[in-house]
């Protein structure tokens, strides 16, 4: 596709369940980012992938959060044993190389934990 694609667009889950969020970056983009946007808050960095390098996981809030990127393309963010405070919009972004390149954002996944 022409842009960054995220699925699902909305996810409602019960507390304690696991969820998987998917991101398809723009073809050819080597850098991929996950951010979290809570209501009334800014963008919170979660994790960054660049090519075949080890990801920067410094923003993951707890060990319930993990992410992988298969084949240098699609990425999945997994949240285990969801909590109500995990409710937020999860945004994925990609860029050609990282560095001074701008980020291209997807429309996000709205996660609601009941």
């Amino acid at each position: 596709g022409a842009g960054v694609s995220q699925s699902p667009s909305n996810k409602v889950t019960e507390k304690g369940k696991d969820v998987e969020l998917r991101c398809d970056p723009i073809s050819g983009h080597t850098a991929l980012y996950w951010y979290r946007q809570s209501l009334g808050q800014g963008l919170e960095f979660l994790i960054y992938f660049q090519g075949n390098s080890a990801p920067d996981k410094s923003g993951l809030p707890s060990d319930r959060f993990s992410a992988e990127r298969t084949g240098g393309s699609v990425s999945t963010l997994t949240i285990q044993r969801t909590q109500q405070e995990d409710s937020a919009v999860y945004l994925c972004a990609s860029s050609p190389f990282g560095g001074n390149e701008k980020l291209f954002f997807g429309s996000g996944t709205q996660l609601s934990v009941l």
């Binding site: 980012y33 800014g42 960095f45 701008k102």
Partner: protein, 114 residues
């Protein structure tokens, strides 16, 4: 560590008046600086960036920003505001020597009244 401060949660201006949205940053070395805009129910879009060179950067939709190294600021400006400029604006910084994650501010809601 890098950080961004957007000191105003809300900026209100009348249509036709100039607007300024403030941003200050902190990085260990030299910065890459970005502004993004988020319109209601839409994803974040890139507005402009400062990489090097001229301190005044021009971007999309008539916006510009001025890099001030001594004040560590990168304020967003527009000479004449439009009602359609009403949106949520984010400033972001990335260290040149760590061309990985971008750190975003908490955002400023701009409201332009007719």
């Amino acid at each position: 560590a890098q950080s961004v401060a957007q000191p105003e949660d809300q900026v209100n201006v009348a249509e036709g008046n100039p607007l300024t949205v403030k941003c200050t940053y902190s990085v260990s070395g030299n910065p890459y600086l970005f502004w993004y805009v988020q319109y209601p129910n839409r994803g974040l879009q890139f507005l402009l960036k400062y990489i090097t060179g001229d301190n005044l950067v021009k971007g999309s939709y008539g916006f510009e920003a001025e890099f001030n190294k001594s004040q560590t600021s990168f304020h967003l400006k527009k000479p004449s505001a439009l009602v359609s400029d009403s949106a949520l604006y984010f400033c972001a910084v990335r260290e040149k020597t760590n061309a990985g994650k971008s750190t975003f501010g908490d955002g400023t809601t701009l409201t332009v009244k007719p």
